[in-house]
């Protein structure tokens, strides 16, 4: 491939466009955690973390870190007006109870039906479930943001996951370094490609058969 892959920040920027004014949003570790920096102006987003906090904002400045103010990625948060704290029972009641509008998660594999696998690489024989299963089943909208292929060049968007599942049929949207894909009943709809990437280029890096949206275009920010 000649065309460049989008950097992590741009993937996060594209995801951030999906966040609507008033949404309660939970961001996973990795690319997802970058999204909050790129929310379009005029939209108020309430960030939730399963570490037990709602409405956190920017990270703490260096030297201002407080070990009692972290998100689920272990990043230090700055204190913020309107921030509230709660225990894990309540944090997951919010998730499982359908009170989180959007979660953005990383993934190892996503299948054509929207199955998500993100907790274990089988070769390691052990993995971390963390809050991913709860978020995947509980959030109203599940967006996966990840690199389109893994480090060995294997497609991560597959016909069927062969990694252990986190949650079947839960992913609504996939944003990668080369494409934006909507998961619908009929399959994976390719909506946008990265600049310089044709639909054929994207399909070539995708194991699952993509349906090309009639209005497929370039990722725009």
């Amino acid at each position: 491939m000649v065309a460049e892959r989008l950097p992590r920040e741009v993937i996060a920027m594209r995801v951030a466009q999906e966040l609507q004014d008033g949404d309660v949003v939970n961001l996973g570790i990795g690319i997802p955690s970058l999204c909050s920096q790129f929310v379009p102006e005029g939209r108020t987003i309430f960030y939730h973390s399963e570490s037990g906090v709602l409405n956190y904002g920017p990270m703490a400045e260096e030297g201002e870190e407080d070990q009692d103010l972290i998100n689920a990625s272990g990043q230090f948060l700055a204190p913020m007006h309107g921030m509230s704290f709660f225990d894990s029972g309540s944090a997951f009641a919010m998730i499982r109870g359908g009170h989180i509008d959007v979660t953005v998660l990383g993934a190892l594999q996503v299948s054509r039906k929207g199955d998500l696998a993100n907790w274990m690489i089988p070769s390691r024989g052990i993995g971390n479930v963390g809050g991913a299963m709860d978020l995947a089943v509980g959030a109203k909208k599940v967006i996966v943001s990840m690199e389109h292929i893994d480090r060995e060049g294997n497609p991560k968007i597959v016909e069927e996951c062969n990694f252990p599942l986190t949650c079947p049929a839960c992913v609504d949207m996939i944003v990668t370094d080369i494409a934006v894909i909507s998961v619908q009943r009929e399959g994976l709809i390719l909506k946008e490609t990265a600049p310089g990437w044709s639909v054929e280029d994207v399909q070539a890096e995708t194991d699952a058969k993509l349906i090309i949206a009639p209005d497929v275009g370039n990722i725009s920010l």
């Binding site: 103010l69 029972g89 997951f92 199955d115 599942l165 079947p168």
Partner: protein, 234 residues
Amino acid sequence: MNKVYSSFSEAVADIPDSATLMIDGFAGPGGTSQNLIRALRDQGARDLTIISNTAGLASVIGFGTIPGQKPIDIGILVDNGQVAKVIASFPVSPSPSRPTSFEKAYQRGEIELELVPQGTLAERIRAGGAGIPAFFTPTGIGTFVTDGKEVRVFEGKEYVLESALKADYALIRGHKADTMGNLSFRGTSMNFNGVMVTAATVSIVEVDKIVNVGEIDSYRIDTPGLYVNRIVEV
């Protein structure tokens, strides 16, 4: 009715071999009862079952750790050969190249693991404290989580039956306690602490400060004193 203990070692002295313990915290040193964990290491009780979100992570990858600090976590109990089983949601390092003490012991076949989704872990603990023996949850449907468990459909959607978790002891980090055992927490350091303190026969709490009754405002009491058996000031 004296709940105040003068030392960590005294507060954990009676924990027997084969006890089930809940150990608090999310993953980092904030909200983790580091002093009680160290006292338990020195005390030496063996064959412990530990219920915790991680199996000791901060000491290896520095999760939630202020640069330059050295956190203590469950890893020191694993290293000391005291742990028979861990019930956790995030048991290993996210980085395979920096495995935790637990992962090494697990790979050697020395420790048993029950892997539980984090929300199910929290809810099972809350249920244990709340007299609910079992509940249905959607989390884990279509995954290994349902193995050997009842799955039932409610209103067209599948749910799995999960059972309560209780412990003989809970080791908990709080911010302040009054002599009646009322607790307040700081920030994000009440996550697993707030539920675990309700689900143990004996809850042992280390706090920054023990104050007189009335010095914690009624509206700043996060955990009412009836859940707290022993308090030690750090």
